[in-house]
C-alpha cells in the first residue's frame, strides 16, 4: 500500500505533463473534427495558429519569469528576430528547396537559432542587472530590434546580396534581382507554410522542452537561483551559466513562435502593434494570469485571453475597456489579502471541508 503511494508521488510530474499533452491533442482533434464537419467559423479557423504561437510565447516566457524569476519585457523582440530570420531564409530558398516540409523545418531551426544567439547576447549583457533594470534593458532591446528592422533593405541578384540602410533604390539591384527586406514594408509574400498541425506539434515540443527542463538538474539549479541567488552560488551552482541558459532557451522558443507567425501571414513588417513592447506586455499578462511558473496555466490563459477580445466583439468599442477592467479586477481578486481571505472563507472547497470536519 505504501509502495503504491510512493509510485504515484514519483510520477506525479510526468503524469501532470502527460495529461496536459493529451489535453492539447484532444483539443486539436476536436478542432480538426469541427473543421471537417464545417462547424467552425472563419474567425475561429484564423485563430487556431495564433493560439499556438501565443501559447509558445507564454510558455517560453514563463521559463524566464516563473522559473528564473526575472522580469523580461523583450519577448516580442526575440519573436521578431525569429520571424524575420526565418522569412528571409524561406524567401531565399523558395526556389532552391521546393519541398515545403524540408524548407519549413530548416526555417524553424534558422529562426530558433537566430533568436537564441540574440537571447544569449542579452543573457550575457544583463548578467550584472537585477529586477527592474533588467526589465528595462529587455524592453529597450525589443524596441531596438523593431526600429533597426524598419530601416534595413536587403536584395538579392546574380551578383549576390545587396544591403542598405537608406532605401530600396540604393541597393542598385540588377534586372533579375529581387528585393527581400524592404525597410518599413518588411518582407512580402513569404510562403505560407504554417498550418494548425505543425503549430500544435511545435506547441507540444515547446511544452516538453520546458517541462523537462524544469524537472531536470538544470531546472532545479535555475529555480535555486530564483529562490536565493547567493545561497545557490554558495552551493556551487554556476549562476552565470544557468541564467544565460534560461535566457537562450526562452529566446529560441520565442523565435520558433516568430517562425510560425511569419509563415502564417503574407506580409511581415515590424510595427509597434505586432513586435512592440505592448506585445511583450500582452504575453506577460498571459503568463501572470495563467499563474507564474505554471506552464499549463500559460497555455490556458493564452487561449482564453486571445479568444476573449474576439468574443467581446459584440461590445464593439467597449471591448478593450472591459478587457482592462477585467484585468484590474482579476489582479485585485487574486492578490488582495482581504479578497484572498474572503475567497477562502466562502469557496466551495472550504464549505465542503467544514462539513466533513463536522461529521467527524
Amino acid at each position: 500500500m505504501k509502495k503504491n503511494i510512493m509510485k504515484v508521488n514519483l510520477s506525479k510530474d510526468a503524469k501532470y505533463n502527460l495529461i496536459t499533452i493529451a489535453a492539447i491533442i484532444v483539443v486539436y482533434a476536436m478542432c480538426q473534427i469541427m473543421i471537417a464537419a464545417g462547424m467552425m467559423s472563419y474567425l475561429m479557423k484564423g485563430l487556431l495558429v495564433p493560439f499556438c504561437y501565443y501559447s509558445i510565447l507564454a510558455v517560453s516566457l514563463n521559463l524566464t519569469v516563473g522559473i528564473l524569476g526575472e522580469l523580461s519585457l523583450g519577448q516580442a523582440g526575440f519573436m521578431c528576430i525569429g520571424a524575420f530570420a526565418s522569412a528571409f531564409f524561406s524567401k531565399c530558398t523558395i526556389n532552391l528547396i521546393p519541398n515545403t516540409f524540408i524548407r519549413f523545418t530548416l526555417a524553424i531551426f534558422v529562426g530558433a537559432l537566430a533568436a537564441a544567439i540574440f537571447g544569449m547576447f542579452i543573457g550575457v549583457a544583463v548578467l550584472r542587472l537585477r529586477g527592474d533594470y533588467l526589465a528595462i534593458v529587455t524592453l529597450a532591446f525589443g524596441e531596438i530590434i523593431k526600429n533597426v528592422l524598419n530601416t534595413i533593405f536587403v536584395g538579392y541578384d546574380s551578383k549576390g546580396f545587396h544591403f542598405s540602410l537608406k532605401d530600396a533604390a540604393s541597393l542598385k539591384l540588377q534586372g533579375d534581382g529581387t528585393l527581400i527586406i524592404n525597410g518599413p514594408q518588411g518582407i512580402t509574400s513569404t510562403p505560407q507554410d504554417t498550418n494548425f498541425t505543425v503549430s500544435t506539434l511545435l506547441l507540444i515540443a515547446t511544452f516538453i522542452i520546458v517541462a523537462n527542463l524544469i524537472n531536470s538538474r538544470s531546472g532545479r539549479a535555475i529555480m535555486a537561483i530564483r529562490d536565493n541567488r547567493i545561497a545557490a552560488e554558495a552551493m556551487g551552482i554556476d549562476v552565470t551559466k544557468f541564467r544565460i541558459l534560461a535566457f537562450t532557451i526562452t529566446a529560441a522558443l520565442a523565435g520558433v513562435a516568430g517562425v510560425l507567425y511569419a509563415h502564417n501571414i503574407s506580409s511581415l513588417n515590424a510595427t509597434p502593434k505586432n513586435f512592440g513592447y505592448n506585445m511583450s506586455i500582452m504575453i506577460l499578462v498571459f503568463v501572470v494570469l495563467g499563474g507564474i511558473g505554471n506552464i499549463r496555466g500559460s497555455i490556458i490563459a493564452s487561449v482564453i485571453l486571445t479568444l476573449l477580445p474576439e468574443y467581446l466583439r459584440f461590445l464593439q468599442d467597449y471591448r478593450m475597456l472591459i478587457y482592462a477592467i477585467v484585468l484590474i479586477i482579476m489582479m485585485i481578486l487574486n492578490w488582495n489579502p482581504t479578497c484572498i481571505a474572503w475567497r477562502k472563507k466562502y469557496s466551495l472547497g472550504s464549505i465542503f471541508r467544514k462539513k466533513t470536519q463536522g461529521e467527524v
Partner: protein
C-alpha cells in the same frame, strides 16, 4: 549654429522628459512599483487642456491649472482603487494592474475622443527669440519649458528635504516598517507622492503637447516609456538622477535624429541606455546595492 539650436531643442525635450521621469522615480522610490499608467495620465492632461481651451474657449492658463488638478485627482484615485489593495502583493501583480490601468485610460480616451489624432493648440503665448542675426531661433515653448523645469526641480528638492511630508517620503522609501513605527502614515505618504507625480504629469502634458501637438489616445505611451528609461538611466528612485537622465535622453534623441537617422533615433537612445547600465548597473546616480547574505 545648427548644432546649438539642436542642443537647445534637446534640452527642452529633455526637460519635459525629466518632469515626467520625476513622477516615475518618486513613485518607484516610495511604493517600489513601476507605474506604467503614468504616461497615460499625461495623455489625459492633454485632452483636458484640449477640451477646455480649443473646444470650450477657456483661457489657456486656467485650462492648464484645471488639467493639473484633474491629473492630481486621477493619480490619487488610481492609487486608491487599483494599487492600494495590492500593497503587499508581488511586484509583478502590481505591474500587470498598472498595465490594466494604462489600457483603461487609453480606451476611455479612445471612446470619448475617437481614433483621429487631435491637433493641440500651444498654450504658450511667448514670441520666439532670435539670436545671432536670426541664425539661432529659440521658440517660445523652449523659453518657457527650460526655466519652468528648473523652478520645479528646485521647489521639489526643497519640499522633499525640508518639509515634514517630504521627509516622511524619504523615510517610507528607505524603510517602510521603520517609518510606520516612527508614526509616519504610509498610505497617506504614498497618496501624496502619487498626487505630486500626477500634478507634474499635468504640467508635462501642457509643455509636451505645446511642442509636439499630435494628441491621440496613445500619444502618452511612448513619452511615458522614454521618461521611464530616463528615470532608469539616472538611477531609479533618485530625484537628481531623473533630471540628469531626462535631459541627457532628450539631447541624445534630438542629436541622433538630426545627425544620424530619424528612424534610428529611438534605437540609439535605447542602445545608450543599455551601454550605461552595462557599465553602471544601477544608473548614473543610483545607489550601489549591498546584498546581504
Amino acid at each position: 549654429m545648427s548644432f546649438l539650436s539642436y542642443l537647445i531643442k534637446g534640452i527642452s525635450l529633455g526637460s519635459v522628459y525629466s518632469i515626467i521621469a520625476l513622477g516615475y522615480t518618486m513613485v518607484y522610490g516610495i511604493a517600489k512599483m513601476l507605474n506604467f499608467a503614468h504616461g497615460d495620465v499625461i495623455m489625459v492632461g492633454g485632452f483636458v487642456i484640449y477640451t477646455l481651451m480649443s473646444l470650450a474657449g477657456i483661457n489657456p492658463l486656467i485650462s492648464v491649472l484645471a488639467a493639473i488638478v484633474i491629473c492630481t485627482l486621477l493619480g490619487v484615485t488610481i492609487e486608491g482603487i487599483a494599487y492600494r489593495p495590492l500593497r503587499k502583493a508581488s511586484s509583478l501583480a502590481v505591474l500587470i494592474t498598472a498595465i490594466g490601468v494604462s489600457y483603461f485610460l487609453q480606451n476611455v480616451a479612445l471612446l470619448v475622443y475617437g481614433s483621429n489624432p487631435k491637433s493641440f493648440t500651444s498654450v504658450i503665448n511667448v514670441p520666439a527669440l532670435k539670436l545671432a542675426d536670426g541664425k539661432l531661433t529659440i521658440t517660445g515653448e523652449t523659453l518657457v519649458t527650460i526655466p519652468l523645469c528648473i523652478i520645479i526641480m528646485v521647489i521639489l528638492n526643497l519640499f522633499i528635504k525640508k518639509s515634514k511630508v517630504g521627509r516622511s517620503m524619504i523615510a517610507v522609501s528607505e524603510d517602510k516598517d521603520a517609518a510606520v513605527l516612527m508614526g509616519v502614515n504610509v498610505n497617506k505618504t504614498i497618496a501624496i507622492t502619487f498626487a505630486i507625480g500626477s500634478a507634474l504629469a499635468g504640467v508635462a502634458s501642457a509643455l509636451m503637447f505645446s511642442t509636439y501637438p499630435n494628441l491621440s489616445s496613445t500619444s502618452g505611451a511612448m513619452p511615458g516609456i522614454k521618461a521611464f528609461v530616463a528615470a532608469v538611466f539616472g538611477g531609479i528612485g533618485s530625484i537628481p538622477g531623473a533630471m540628469i537622465g531626462g535631459v541627457l535622453l532628450g539631447i541624445i534623441q534630438i542629436l541622433s535624429s538630426a545627425y544620424i537617422s530619424t528612424q534610428l533615433a529611438d534605437a540609439i537612445v535605447f542602445l545608450i541606455l543599455i551601454l550605461v547600465l552595462l557599465i553602471k548597473p544601477t544608473g548614473i546616480m543610483g545607489k550601489k546595492l549591498h546584498e546581504k547574505v
